[in-house]
Amino acid sequence: MNARTIISDLLLGLIPIVLLVAVWQALVSFGYAPVTLLPPPGHVFQRMVALLLNTTYQRDIAATLFRLFAGFAIAVILGVSVGLAAAVNPTINAAVRPIVRVLAPLPKVALYPALLLLVGFGHESKILLVTFDALFPILLSTYYGASTVEQKLIWSAMAAGTPPREVLFKVVLPAAAPSILTGCRIGLVISCIVVFLAEMITSTDGLGHVLVTAARTFQAVDMFVPLITISLLGLILNGLLELLRSYLLRGFPEV
């Protein structure tokens, strides 16, 4: 992935956004939607710029980002460690497998009230929810990547003198990197979504809270702004992760 492909991909990705805005403007201009329900793109972007310069909104963004990163980071550390451990150790595998099977299909958001009761209404409950939701894709991708490492890679490393306890970090982890990073990408998207939703359900700050507040006062414009903000944040973060991914996986054949 060189600079040229990245730029052309970026431009290609902008086209749908431009299209959407165009459709949006058309809907408003042709009177298909009343201004109170669907404000013109111009209004929304104006408001957005104004809010981005506003310190309160900046604090909201900061709160959302903080919870997002914290939750995601914990999910990555936990998910990768447990996934690797389960892949190489049969006992851990036997213990982890059924637990994951039970917990994975559970709608984690249903745990949110429990979290609120246990750790309060502040940052922690949202961070924990993000962690629970982002954990499983990362764990499963890590497990999958680590357990499908080509046996001959491990044998080659051992014949070259790698002691068994080092094989995990010198062979299994790098070989599983593509899978792990795919899981992280899914986990990141989930983190963005969940933090926003948690803030919508109960919060005193954050982007989700801004949206709900605007909804209660029927301010359509103010509802669009946080939504677009989180989408943009998600896109940017995803892009950054992609860059990291291309760099780390530069030796791997394209899948």
Partner: protein, 268 residues
């Protein structure tokens, strides 16, 4: 041709004593891959293990490599029982098994670095090895950017880098096209002539076995047993062009193929 006697000198590099290997298949059945294999490999000998698919020849190699523990019997190197993999027995696999996250140079340097060799020295040694296998200039490439033949050269260089006394080659040229295969066979012999390591070479090609080796161990399929061991009495160094026209070479190939035919077993 007389079957070579199974002798047990104390100086044998590799000694395989009554090794059997049983596998459990997914259908919960027992599959006897190898049955009572006994074999002695002298120091500096180039020995091929020849047989059709499913005769356990790779399994035998993996047992010597220490990657698989035999269900019965013992494999020894220089008198010591083989318990696990180690840098004294270096493998070269058909699938190349190069580390995709490392460059060509990084791959070759892996063994020496693992042995504690300092970075600068490991790099110098590795560059020299890469030049020897004909890959000078490709040090910073990633394996994915190389052809099959080139990948196998890297694999060979990577194994040679940690100076194993024994080379274990598992159908190393099987995934390559015929032209690349013959070139690599020649190159392998050239490299081998330099220090005459002990080589165990698994193949299903009669011509390849005869061309490369001092001894050909013929195996039967399921369960794998040693059918016969054939001494290849051809002069070294061996040149493909000369050998192909040499009636002794042709005789070996014809007779070995006939032995497989006569037994009613699959042609390798």
């Amino acid at each position: 041709m007389q079957p070579a006697a199974v002798h047990k000198p104390a100086t044998a590099m590799i000694q395989i004593d009554h090794v059997s290997q049983m596998f459990q298949t997914s259908a919960r059945q027992d599959h006897l891959a190898l049955s009572d294999i006994s074999l002695s490999v002298a120091n500096g000998a180039f020995v091929s293990i020849l047989g059709p698919s499913g005769c356990g020849k790779s399994t035998l190699l993996y047992i010597v490599g220490g990657f698989v523990q035999p269900t019965k019997g013992i494999a020894r190197m220089k008198g010591e029982a083989i318990r696990g993999p180690g840098p004294d027995r270096g493998p070269v696999f058909q699938e190349f098994a190069l580390f995709p996250w490392k460059t060509v140079l990084g791959n070759v340097m892996y063994g020496p670095r693992q042995q504690g060799v300092k970075h600068a020295e490991a790099e110098a040694q590795s560059r020299a090895l890469l030049e020897m296998v004909g890959l000078k200039g490709f040090e910073n490439f990633y394996p994915k950017e190389l052809s099959g033949g080139m990948k196998q050269r890297v694999a060979l260089a990577r194994t040679l880098a940690y100076h194993p006394e024994v080379l274990l080659m598992d159908e190393p040229f099987g995934a390559l096209d015929a032209h690349t295969r013959t070139r690599l066979q020649n190159d392998l012999l050239n490299i081998w002539e330099r220090d005459r390591k002990t080589v165990l070479f698994v193949t299903h090609s009669v011509e390849e076995a005869v061309f490369l080796s001092d001894k050909v161990v013929m195996m039967t399929p399921s369960p794998g047993r040693i059918r016969q061991i054939v001494d290849i009495d051809l002069p070294r160094p061996r040149r493909r062009a000369e050998l192909l026209l040499d009636p002794r070479y042709q005789k070996y190939v014809v007779e070995i193929e006939r032995m497989f035919d006569d037994s009613g077993e699959l042609q390798p």
